[in-house]
């Protein structure tokens, strides 16, 4: 591999890679092979082991790098994107990879239910031209940020599409071949001997186990049953951090954002002052310190350091100011209602801190821990009873993707029923802005989001991975998905 390939600066120290061996990985979530179209935490460990994307995005250098496409080009008017495909790539089934596979993938992204997360990018797609290894996408309007979508969208095999949809067959072009999936137990993947990157992968296979209880997961690592443990809780991370037998990696993507949304149609959250007061009252630093062991970054704005929207000053917005919060409450006029704070079980402690913070400025709260089913229902009907705490993973995206796709805060039909002409207008501005105008557009948009305070972030946390010291060369991408092509065990 060359230097510009992702994962070149892999984790776990350096040395001369040694082929062979199976890497055993424990993850707390049960994988969900039927939901492989989109990135999600359950499939983080294996999706990119089986599938490749057209391009990748290097978070360090903030630039697009090669994937199945070796070059990419956007026309001057922004309405045409030309991709040159890598040659000599074949599917795990042995069929050669070609331009029609790209067409099929994009079709699927647009049309499937549930749809591809960033499908909006293709809303103006007019046609796909294929000639040899070149694919040309024609749009009716200029596109920006298509590379977010291209680096997230795995290229899928049309022949095995039915299996892809129900999760029974996964045929990709990636370094590992789908082996077996045992619900409740794990996944096994074996080496793709015909991987297009010669000599890769080093490993003979991956074995992924689901260990849902975090204590059990940590002790599986500590008792050497597994080589790696994924998605450690911050606390569990601390218990292995001090142990020199292990390497601990905290992703620098800070790809999981805890947010607080407020249904703007509910009293008293329909008053902007109250929403602002709430965010001034929330002790973000404390939440970070106590719940995430200080490993996250506090931020009210929804941009993580890897996002093009990131700016330090926004991260500092709404730093805790009880006086200001109180005066805002006072200015908002009398409040009769108790504010309902809703959250899923995993966010219950955060909800408790938020509720406590609100009590400090004289707001009464009622915590409701929502069942998954109820959350789904709330999502569907966009009917949160008041505040809602949850995680989103949109913060590493380009801002434009957030305002068009992220359910909590997209311009249309967001979860918290916030809508304004100005918001829509600023979003369009950003969508059509040229690279030079983009920063200003982002700034305006961010200011509005912060001011309206209908959905702001609290902490951006990073994914923690622990591994035995003999694990080297693995890496992760901007979407927090793991890359094992260069991984090896010593």
């Amino acid at each position: 591999g060359t230097d510009d390939e992702p994962g070149a600066q892999g984790q776990g120290g350096s040395g001369t890679p040694k082929p062979g061996g199976t890497l055993t990985i424990a993850q707390p979530a049960e994988a969900n092979p039927a939901q492989a179209l989109n990135q999600n935490i359950a499939n983080q460990s294996w999706r990119r082991a089986v599938y490749d994307c057209l391009v990748d995005y290097d978070p360090e250098r903030r630039e697009v790098v090669e994937g199945l496409a070796t070059s990419w080009e956007t026309s001057a008017d922004g309405r045409q994107v030309v991709l040159t495909l890598r040659e000599g790539v074949s599917w795990h089934s042995g069929r050669p990879f070609g331009a029609d596979d790209v067409e099929f993938t994009i079709d699927t992204a647009i049309n499937s239910t549930p749809s591809f997360q960033l499908a909006w990018v293709f809303r103006n797609l007019q046609g796909i031209d294929m000639s040899g290894t070149t694919v040309t996408l024609d749009f009716s309007e200029p596109v920006t940020s298509i590379y977010d979508a291209l680096s997230l969208m795995t290229v899928i095999d049309r022949e095995s599409h039915d299996g892809f949809v129900d999760g029974t067959a996964h045929v990709g072009t990636g370094p590992f071949v789908w082996g077996s999936f045992a619900p409740g137990t794990g996944i096994t993947l074996r080496r793709n001997d015909n991987y297009w990157r010669g000599g890769r992968p080093y490993l003979d296979g991956l074995e992924i186990r689901f260990i849902t209880r975090s204590e059990a997961l940590v002790s599986a690592v500590r008792s050497d049953q597994v080589d790696m443990g994924l998605n450690l809780l911050p606390l569990d991370r601390r218990t292995v951090e001090g142990d020199e037998r292990f390497d601990v990696v905290a992703y620098n993507t800070y790809g999981a954002a805890l947010y607080v949304g407020a249904n703007v149609e509910v009293e008293p959250l329909n008053r902007k002052e109250i929403r602002q007061a709430i965010h001034y009252a929330i002790d973000r630093q404390r939440i970070n310190d106590e719940l995430y062991q200080g490993q996250g970054k506090v931020s009210a704005a929804p941009w993580s350091p890897t996002s093009s929207g990131y700016d330090e000053k926004w991260a500092q917005a709404y730093s805790r100011d009880l006086d200001k919060a109180k005066s805002l409450v006072a200015a908002a006029g009398p409040i009769g209602e108790v504010i309902v704070v809703e959250a899923g079980a995993a966010q219950s402690r955060a909800a408790e801190i938020v509720a406590f913070n609100l009590s400090e400025i004289g707001l009464e709260t009622d915590i409701q821990i929502l069942e998954p089913a109820l959350i789904t229902e709330r999502f569907q009907s966009r009917s949160f009873a008041g505040l809602y705490l949850a995680f989103h993973g949109w913060n590493t995206l380009s801002p434009i993707n957030v305002v068009y796709s992220a359910a909590p805060m997209r311009v249309e039909n967001n979860l918290f029923r916030f809508a304004s002409d100005e918001y829509a207008h600023l979003a369009t501005e950003l969508a059509t802005a040229d690279p030079a105008g983009a920063p200003a557009a982002i700034e305006a948009l961010t200011e509005l989001i912060l001011d309206e305070a209908f959905c702001l972030d609290v902490v951006h946390t990073s994914n923690n991975v622990v591994s035995q010291q003999n694990v080297h060369g693995w890496s992760y991408n901007v979407w927090d998905e793991m890359l094992f092509a260069d991984a090896w065990k010593s």
Partner: protein, 315 residues
């Protein structure tokens, strides 16, 4: 004996049927659709309806019920609403894991329980009695999950002598398999073993006051013979019933212990199914556990009858 079995089994089948109707009816009572969860955030009334139709949920209650039961009887557990995998595939691998754990704990329960019970009944005013009382009083009060957590803390985290969780199938690698099995099996059976022990002790002590033991002694039978040939065979039938009930309890306990020890068994599948509201899967799993419980009860009743001629012959 056969007549006894013939009388006992229809009742058991009836119980299973009533339980299945109950479970099925509960799901029907639910507000909303069981498939809504699957579609998640992007559900629309149309997509829900489509998926319901696909899953056959739009048919009349009775048809659905018989379809479900008919499927179960032919070994077709249906397809999970959530993962869209055949439930048999989800449940299949877990059955072995749970069976392994359950049998191991049953073994511990029976062996330790009988040993404790006999010690308790035989030991008098010796350190053994004191130790026995202490173990039984404390062990009786400690829930299995507490035992589980403490075992992990001591053996896996602090001493690092045994793995904290996960499973290596016993048949694949007996050595490692046993290491993985020890802690969960112990955690799961401590309480049951003590219950069985206490019960046996009481039953034995009751027998000890019975006159037929005096008869045996009057014949010149040794103390050992009195215990093993007379008291124990009489105490055992009722203990068999208790062990049967403990197996039922064990089915419940398995759920927590599997969660704590990351044991990929039915309990784990059940907990996941509940969290993801995979109703059909929950329905199947609960009915399976109920059926297993009932089969165990019938088994223990039959064994009881086999051990006790009064029941066997009077039926």
């Amino acid at each position: 004996m056969l007549r006894y079995a013939l009388r006992r089994i229809p009742t058991a089948v009836l119980t299973c049927v009533v339980a299945s109707i109950g479970i099925f009816w509960l799901v029907q009572l639910l507000p909303g659709s069981p498939v809504a969860m699957v579609l998640g955030e992007q559900a629309t009334p149309e997509s829900v309806a489509a998926l319901e139709a696909e899953a056959g949920l739009d048919r009349p209650f009775v048809v659905q019920y018989f379809d479900w039961i008919g499927g179960l009887l032919t070994g077709d557990l249906g397809v999970s609403y959530v993962s869209r995998l055949p439930i048999a595939d989800l449940v299949g691998p877990a059955v072995g894991a749970t069976l392994e754990l359950a049998l191991a704990s049953l073994l511990v329960t029976v062996v330790v329980g009988l040993a404790l019970g006999i010690t308790g009944a035989v030991a008098r005013r010796r350190p053994a009695t004191v130790a026995y009382r202490l173990i039984s009083a404390i062990g009786f009060g400690v829930p299995e999950y507490v035992v589980g957590v403490l075992l992990v803390f001591v053996f896996a985290v602090t001493l690092r002598t045994l793995p904290a969780g996960g499973r290596v199938p016993l048949l694949e690698d007996p050595g490692t398999g046993v290491q993985h099995l020890v802690l969960p099996a112990i955690a799961l059976s401590v309480h049951s073993a003590i219950v069985v022990g206490r019960f046996l002790e009481t039953a034995l002590n009751q027998q000890m006051d019975e006159e037929y033991l005096d008869t045996a002694r009057a014949k010149g039978a040794s103390r050992r013979r009195v215990l093993w040939r007379h008291a124990l065979p009489n105490a055992l039938p009722s203990v068999v019933t208790v062990i049967g009930l403990r197996i039922g309890h064990l089915l419940g306990g398995v759920v927590v212990i599997e969660t704590i020890f990351a044991w990929p068994g039915l309990g784990t599948v059940l907990v996941n199914a509940v969290s993801s509201r995979d109703y059909l899967l929950v329905q199947d799993l609960v009915l399976i556990s109920v059926a297993v419980f009932i089969v165990v009860q019938v088994g223990s009743d039959l064994l009881h009858a086999a051990l006790d001629p009064r029941v066997r012959l009077e039926a």
